[in-house]
């Protein structure tokens, strides 16, 4: 099933809103893990679980380590889904 990056980004934004409770979350392709105070090693695991469930994919360990920005996650998902 083909999905373009904009669709993936939009679905990902909803997951971010569920994962991070703070309402003033800034979400864009430029958002990096360092920019989001709530994005620590544990919420990273919650984020991972939510993304895997929502997109029906499974990430390799190295991919999980490399998921340090929205752009990186969108790229990974794009690769997996197409």
């Amino acid at each position: 099933m083909h999905q373009d990056k904009a669709t993936i980004r939009d679905q990902l934004e909803l997951i971010f809103q569920d994962t991070f409770v703070e309402s003033n979350l800034a979400f864009s392709m430029d958002t990096r893990r360092d920019d989001v105070a709530e994005w620590d090693s544990l919420s990273h695991i919650r984020l991972l679980t939510a993304i895997e469930a929502s997109f029906g994919v499974q990430f390799d360990l190295e991919e999980i380590v490399s998921m340090t920005s929205v752009a990186a996650i969108v790229d990974l998902l794009y690769e997996k889904l197409n």
Binding site: Q17, D18, T19, V21, S23, S41, L42, H44, I45, R46, L48, T49, A50, A53, F59, D60, L61, I64, V65
Partner: protein, 641 residues
């Protein structure tokens, strides 16, 4: 199992409701409603974060009816992710959980040092959240040189921890059996050869279970939980290597829910009564319509066997001390006959402490059962295949447990068992439980008075009704209803398809087919009426309704429609007939309830009449989607005759 299938899926507005919780007038009730959904780990986290933001005043309101529980946790893994889910799961069982967490890996230090954080915290219990990786001897080591089996040496270490917390912290421990990781060396040999991990884990687990009987500590059988899930799913190496998360994150809701049930059991909040529906719950089919020969129960039939398994489960629970009761919309004589005469029935009449089969609403019946048994609503589990009945009971009696059930009855038992309603820590806490329940009585009384009315419930069903004269599309279903309906059937006249076609085409009959939708979906055609035109009077030859929509005031909507059509035709009188059978006692007073007057009565027939001029429309909370009054004049002229 990871998504807690016995609980309702969370509402779409979950995040918004969390946000509004801070300003909610009853934050305690609303928080418990939210906690009662099948929460994902993100949702648990959101609810937990919201609870942290209560100001002291709201916090006091929130806490007023909850039972406090202070739990310490030591672990060889990262438990932080689990804490929000633990706290929201505990809320599900009326417990306000406070968690005191030892620093990562500080197991022995916390236990052995009397001045440690946990030992100084005056805890209600300590969870020893240890998996096999916490025990240095639990590795594959065929040449193990310790004194005992490595499983016993590991258990010796655990027991030192338990004893230290008892001595230094004056608290009980919750100890875990160990899940087998999905690794092995040889295969079948792994369970046999001393020193191999599988053998050691088996030795550890069985010795732990044996020893716990003689201690005040409590068993959390994580090994069985992991087996039920499957260890390939239970363990997730990626999450362990990333963050030392001990189990796959997706199973945290399940692990924490089971832990919370255990805490509730420690507090004496166990459930002790099973309230069972009958039709399509304890057997396949509807006894009132299908008859003794028509229902499916017992050996030799696949569907009958699936219901037999549920009966077997209930019977075994009874042996464990669970009270069995029946709450069913049925004629009591007919329902009892199934238990007395059906050869496939495992449960018998005397297995039930209370047998409520009647046509009252189920919430009232359940309250009566509770009063008779003198137990609280929170000690009861109500099992019913019908989603509408489940919804009404959840709404009217928020404290009772009502499992969601899948469509397929062969899957009922899995879900009922996964729900683990009857968690018990031993057989001797019954008295303590009873005391706690008496103490809660006053609170329950207060909640009863606040319970929403049946009308509120009916409104919430968002029912839509659709009337039409008989036509080709509906004909087959009309014939089926006419020949199958026994209970809500005033005259029990059976007609063939040719007969029905005759009514449809004849000018001297008014025919009605009725369809009903509600927010759970389309109920399809649920009622049929046939009236014979006798001058200025219509004689109601047939009036029947499917049992699945009983007690929803559908017959009132039908009557409103019928009278409105009659008036528009200048008909002055409706004449109704009740012809009693073995199965239709339900509708003996049907016409009386609608405002008809009894004209004559002998053993075989009651005749009722209604002056259409003086009829007061009932206006039940059902929207009319299509009325015969909207039909074309052409169709109307057909029934003028």
């Amino acid at each position: 199992m990871h998504d807690l299938p016995w609980l309702l899926k969370s509402a779409d507005d979950f995040n918004e409701r969390c946000a509004r919780l801070l300003n909610h007038a009853s934050p305690d009730a609303e928080a418990q409603l939210l906690a009662n959904y099948a929460l994902s780990i993100n949702q648990s986290n959101r609810l937990y974060q919201t609870l942290q933001k209560f100001d002291p005043e709201k916090r006091a309101i929130f806490s007023r009816n909850l039972i406090p529980f202070k739990l310490g946790i030591v672990s060889n893994a990262t438990m932080d992710l689990m804490i929000p889910a633990m706290i929201t799961a505990a809320l599900r069982y009326g417990i306000e959980l406070e968690v005191i967490r030892a620093d990562f890996g500080q197991v022995a230090q916390e236990a052995f040092d009397p001045a440690s954080k946990l030992n100084q915290s005056n805890l209600d219990a300590v969870l020893l959240a240890l998996d096999y990786r916490a025990y240095s001897v639990l590795v594959n080591e065929p040449e193990y040189s310790g004194g005992n089996d490595p499983g016993l040496d590991a258990l010796g270490y655990l027991q030192q921890i338990q004893q230290s917390f008892a001595l230094n912290g004056k608290t009980i421990c919750i100890v875990q059996t160990l899940a087998h990781p999905p690794y092995e060396l040889s295969g079948n040999l792994d369970a046999q050869l001393s020193g191999l991990l599988r053998k050691s884990l088996n030795v550890f687990n069985s010795a732990l279970i044996e020893n716990i009987k003689n201690s005040a500590d409590v068993l959390f059988d994580v090994a069985t939980l992991a087996n039920t899930v499957g260890t390939h799913q239970w363990f997730d190496e990626r999450q362990w290597y990333m963050s030392r998360v001990p189990i796959a994150n997706g199973y945290i809701p399940l692990y924490t829910d089971y832990l919370a049930k255990l805490l509730a059991a420690i507090r004496g909040k166990s459930r002790k009564c099973l309230v069972l529906d009958l039709d399509n719950t304890l057997w396949g089919g509807v006894i009132g319509d299908d008859g003794l020969e028509g229902i499916q129960i017992g050996q030799g039939h696949p569907v009958g066997e699936s219901f037999l398994a549920i009966q077997q489960w209930a019977k075994s629970l009874k042996a464990l001390g669970i009270i069995l009761t029946v709450c069913s919309k049925n004629d009591k004589v007919v329902a009892l006959e199934a238990f007395q005469k059906h050869p496939g029935m495992l449960l018998k009449e005397d297995d039930f402490a209370v047998f409520m089969a009647n046509w009252e609403d189920k919430a009232s019946n359940i309250r009566k059962i509770a009063a008779i048994l003198n137990i609280g609503m929170d000690a009861m589990v109500f099992v019913d295949d019908n989603p509408a009945e489940r919804e009404i009971i959840r709404t009217m009696i928020p404290e009772i447990s009502v499992p969601e059930l899948p469509k397929d009855p062969s899957q009922f038992l899995r879900v009922l068992c996964a729900a683990r309603y009857f968690e018990k820590i031993d057989f001797t806490t019954d008295d303590a439980q009873r005391n706690a329940q008496y103490a809660d009585n006053a609170r329950r009384q207060a909640m009863l008075q606040k319970a929403p009315s049946l009308t509120d419930y009916l409104i919430s069903l968002e029912m839509k009704i659709h009337f039409a004269p008989f036509n080709e599309t509906g004909r087959k279903r009309i014939v089926q209803l006419i020949n199958k309906t026994n209970q809500f059937n005033l005259t029990t006249r059976r007609y063939t398809e040719a007969d029905v076609l005759g009514f449809e085409k004849s000018g001297s009959y008014l025919t009605l087919q009725v369809q009903l939708q509600d927010k759970f979906g389309d109920n399809g055609m649920i009622s049929v009426v046939i009236c014979k035109n006798a001058g200025d009077c219509w004689e109601i030859d047939t009036w029947l309704m499917s049992c699945r929509v009983i007690k929803r005031r559908v017959e009132e909507a039908v009557c409103d429609e019928l009278v409105a059509i009659a008036r528009s035709k200048g008909i002055e009188k409706l004449r109704g007939y009740y012809r009693p059978t073995e199965k239709n006692k339900l509708v003996k007073n049907h016409y009386q309830q609608l405002g008809f007057v009894l004209i004559s009565s002998d053993g075989s027939e009651d005749i009722w009449e209604l002056e259409t001029e003086h009829y007061q429309p009932k206006h039940p909370p059902i929207a009319i989607q299509n009325s015969l009054l909207d039909q074309t004049t052409h169709e109307r002229s057909e029934i003028d005759g």
